[in-house]
Amino acid sequence: MKISCTLLAKKTAPGTRCAQVTQLLASDWDVHNVDNPLVVMKLDIINAFYSVRRQAQSDVLAEKAFTSCDNGNVRDGDMIPCARSLRKYSGYF
């Protein structure tokens, strides 16, 4: 009931949408075993915006990997999927 009400909310800030999605994903907690219960884990990144290496950004926009990443699962030259709508904003990167 709580979730359906949440989804019907008229105003949705990005934070609210994130909370709605998280709440929705966590709604089926009762089908999981108590020994291995469903959990919601909030991860924290240290100085995220100031320390992130931006090479991956170039690769994603180019739709092609120029360096190996993901522990070697993505190799130099591999194609990378990218939302086409991002091309409109290429000047802002």
Partner: protein, 224 residues
């Protein structure tokens, strides 16, 4: 490309050139920085989630929320920690993790014990031993929005309201300019409470909404 380490060069009014070394970082206040950051993280995080089909997640800016059975969630987080460090030079702050076990089937002590046992027995989770600090069975704050049982939601909102009221009192004493005073209340404190009031959860915090109305004369929130 923005966000890369670079050297900024500019000429002052006398024509003298200056060079400033800039570190890699986004521009504070730039709304598009969220998109840049998401595009940067998208590949690595997506690849890790793809290998853990039992795990689902939601991400907003630098907040990552993993929703999964405990064992699978810990396996994903352990791998994510390694991949983010290698690919993006990002460090996860494990002691600051928060975990919420919904359903009220366990109390906080039982949840702590469960986390401790699993972390002690899983070799792959050795980097996550400090994780049990923030385990709760009552609720979690997701991007400023409380999700949890009604009592936890109410307490969360009440604490935030108290904090805002305290801030309003401080502003009232410090600011002498009426316009700045009004703008601070209207666009900062009022927005904060407004967000809590309409953030969509029709739980008990919604009942607080009528209580928040700014009066310029007093600079406090009054009952409507």
């Amino acid at each position: 490309m923005q966000g890369h380490a670079s050297t900024l060069r500019f000429h002052d009014r006398t024509g003298q050139p200056h060079h400033l070394p800039c570190s890699k970082c986004g521009h504070q206040g730039d709304g598009f920085e969220k998109v840049r950051f998401a595009v940067t993280m998208n590949l690595s995080i997506g690849c890790v989630f793809q290998r853990h089909p039992a795990c689902k997640g939601a991400i907003i800016c630098d907040d990552i929320f993993v929703v999964a059975p405990l064992l699978e969630a810990l396996a994903l987080v352990a791998e994510l920690k390694l991949i983010l460090k290698r690919d993006l030079d990002l460090d996860l702050d494990v002691p600051n993790f928060n975990c919420y076990v919904p359903g009220n089937r366990l109390n906080d002590n039982q949840a702590h014990e469960l986390f401790k046992n699993i972390l002690a027995n899983q070799q792959s989770c050795s980097d996550l031993t400090a994780i049990d600090v923030g385990v709760s069975t009552k609720g979690l704050c997701v991007a400023g929005v409380p999700i949890g049982d009604d009592a936890w939601d109410t307490t969360f909102v009440e604490e935030k309201v108290e904090a805002v009221i305290l801030d309003v009192c401080k502003i009232h004493h410090v600011l002498t300019d009426d316009i700045i005073h009004y703008n601070m209340l209207h666009f900062c404190q009022n927005t904060h409470l407004g967000f809590l009031a309409w953030q969509g959860n029709q739980g008990p915090q919604h009942a607080h909404a009528p209580y928040f109305r700014i009066t310029r004369e007093f600079g406090v929130f009054s009952h409507s």
